[in-house]
């Protein structure tokens, strides 16, 4: 199945996406990841205000089959979490780049998402 890999995002090899908008960024998991995980039934999000370093395990997404750690693709302070996921974790399956976002970061100084993959590179990683 062809996975959706939007051009405007940056990607971690561990299948998270990052959308940078000025000093903040939004984090979620990719369409490929949600498809591999199957139906998501529970999400554990980081506490507000938590300071994260890039690559740190900070959330857990649980599907019917398995629990998966989510690693933040960028450093920063958690400034918003997607409260809608508590009642409807399936949003990650139906809209992984939209309503299924996980959390937002106030980016650490000098954090630009360096080292992350562009859409084309991620697409080739997942063989899509």
């Amino acid at each position: 199945m062809e996975s959706n890999v939007p051009q405007n995002l940056k990607y971690a090899k561990s299948h998270e996406w990052l959308l940078i908008e000025g000093a903040t960024a939004t984090v979620g998991i990719t369409d490929h990841a949600q498809h591999e995980l199957t139906d998501i039934v529970f999400v554990e999000l980081p506490a507000m205000g938590r300071q994260l370093t890039a690559g740190e395990a900070c959330a857990v997404v649980e599907s019917v089959k398995t629990a998966s750690d989510i690693y933040t693709p960028a450093a920063g302070e958690v400034c918003e979490v997607n409260a809608a996921l508590a009642g409807n974790p399936g949003l990650i399956n139906t809209d992984p780049y939209g309503q299924g976002w996980l959390f937002k970061l106030k980016l650490a100084p000098a954090e630009t998402g360096q080292g992350l993959l562009a859409a084309a590179a991620y697409r080739s990683q997942i063989g899509s």
Partner: protein, 375 residues
């Protein structure tokens, strides 16, 4: 190289997400585990269960020999009837759980777990009478497959699957006339198929045993008959459905170190039989009690899904774990965490409050009776 069933092409064309399972390339799901789960509970679903091992035991000595191998009593069977049973080792540990379908006076058709097929066959061949004594053990792998049609709507279509035969087919005129655990020989495309009213979902339904050559045609015809009221279902939903029903899965609730008495399966042990492998240990456990017993449980509040290996605790203490989760999931039907586990008998009574530890945090649960999901 993974093995493929006769329905592999059908799964691929239907967009099935194929994964490795016990050496087979099998569909985990086609569209969504949750959708497929709900379809089986409310309408019906079609499962490819051809990965399961099929073994025929035939001959004049078949019954007495096989009755010494398995726990349940073959006196309870007759041609046209099937039952659940266990194959135990000398210590009463479970080598496999299986279904035995008696298709003729001297023919027993065994359906065993894919992961245990070789172990079962080895064990049976090792115990075969030296001179044969009228016992033939034959693997049907690579020649026969099976389809399960499960869910409340399956009964509405199953009769249309088979051909009317002059003079009648098996002991029952139609598959829909079969009662639970009954089976009959019917015809499809002028070829014999066997249909039993059995399953692994907690729903009404049928299991169809047929030669690999006609299996794809049977599969397509089931889908054509059921139209919008049937859909292919993968192993993902098969697992959530059986967990809600409280059915054991080999490697989780059953291993060579767990006995039927501990697993709560004494009902399929023929203690009245004079001889069968494992009998002494099982009789001893029945008399003296067991160190642990199988439970079903339901989480009492919103929490992450229980998973195999999580520890079970007595509530309000810092004492070490008293037991372990053997299967767990988020129940699609109940919208709550559910599971199966092993605990000391004193903590295994229905209504007992326990706790489950997930990532360092404890969540309350209640021991419940099986099935966990009741209609």
């Amino acid at each position: 190289m993974l093995k493929r069933t006769a329905l592999y092409e059908d799964h691929s064309q239907a967009g099935g997400k194929l994964v490795e399972f016990a050496g087979w390339e099998m569909p985990l799901y086609y569209t969504s585990i949750l959708e497929e789960h709900h379809a089986v509970r409310t309408q019906s679903g079609l499962f490819d269960i051809s990965h399961m091992g099929q073994i025929q035991i035939r001959g004049a000595g078949a019954k007495s020999w096989l009755n010494g191998m398995v726990t349940n009593n073959l006196d309870r069977l007759k041609p046209g009837l099937a039952h659940y049973t266990l194959l135990c080792n000398d210590q009463g540990g479970v080598i496999d759980d299986l279904y035995i379908y008696q298709t003729a006076p001297e023919t027993y058709w065994l359906v065993v777990n894919a992961s245990r097929f070789e172990a079962d066959l080895d064990w049976m061949l090792k115990h075969r009478p030296a001179d044969g004594q009228g016992v033939q053990i034959e693997s049907l792998r690579g020649r026969y497959g099976a389809i399960a049609w499960q869910g409340p709507k399956a009964v509405d279509f199953i009769d249309q699957l088979v051909e009317e035969v002059a003079g009648g087919g098996g002991p029952k005129p139609n598959p829909s006339a079969l009662k639970k655990n009954e089976l009959g020989e019917f015809r499809f495309a002028a070829t014999p198929i066997w249909i039993a009213r059995t399953g692994y979902t907690g729903e009404d339904g049928f299991e169809i045993l047929a030669a690999d050559g006609i299996l794809p045609a049977v599969w397509k015809q089931c889908l054509a008959l059921g139209k919008s009221l049937v859909r292919p279902v993968g192993l993902g939903a098969r697992d959530t459905l059986r967990t809600e029903a409280g059915y054991p899965l080999y490697g989780h609730e059953l291993t060579e170190q767990i006995t039927p008495v501990e697993a709560g399966l004494s009902w399929c042990v023929g203690f009245d039989k004079p001889v069968f492998i494992g009998r002494e240990r099982l009789l001893q456990q029945r008399a003296d009690g067991v160190p642990r017993k199988a439970i079903a449980f339901k989480m009492k509040e919103k929490c992450p899904p229980p998973r195999p290996g999580y520890g079970l605790f007595a509530p309000g203490t810092t004492a070490p774990a008293i037991g372990t989760v053997t299967s767990g999931t988020q129940s699609p039907s109940l919208g709550a965490g559910i599971g199966l586990g092993l605990v000391p008998p004193a903590l295994g009574k229905t209504g007992t409050q326990l706790e489950l530890e997930i990532r360092g945090k404890k969540y309350p649960l209640e021991v419940v009776s099986k099935p966990i999901y009741k209609k």
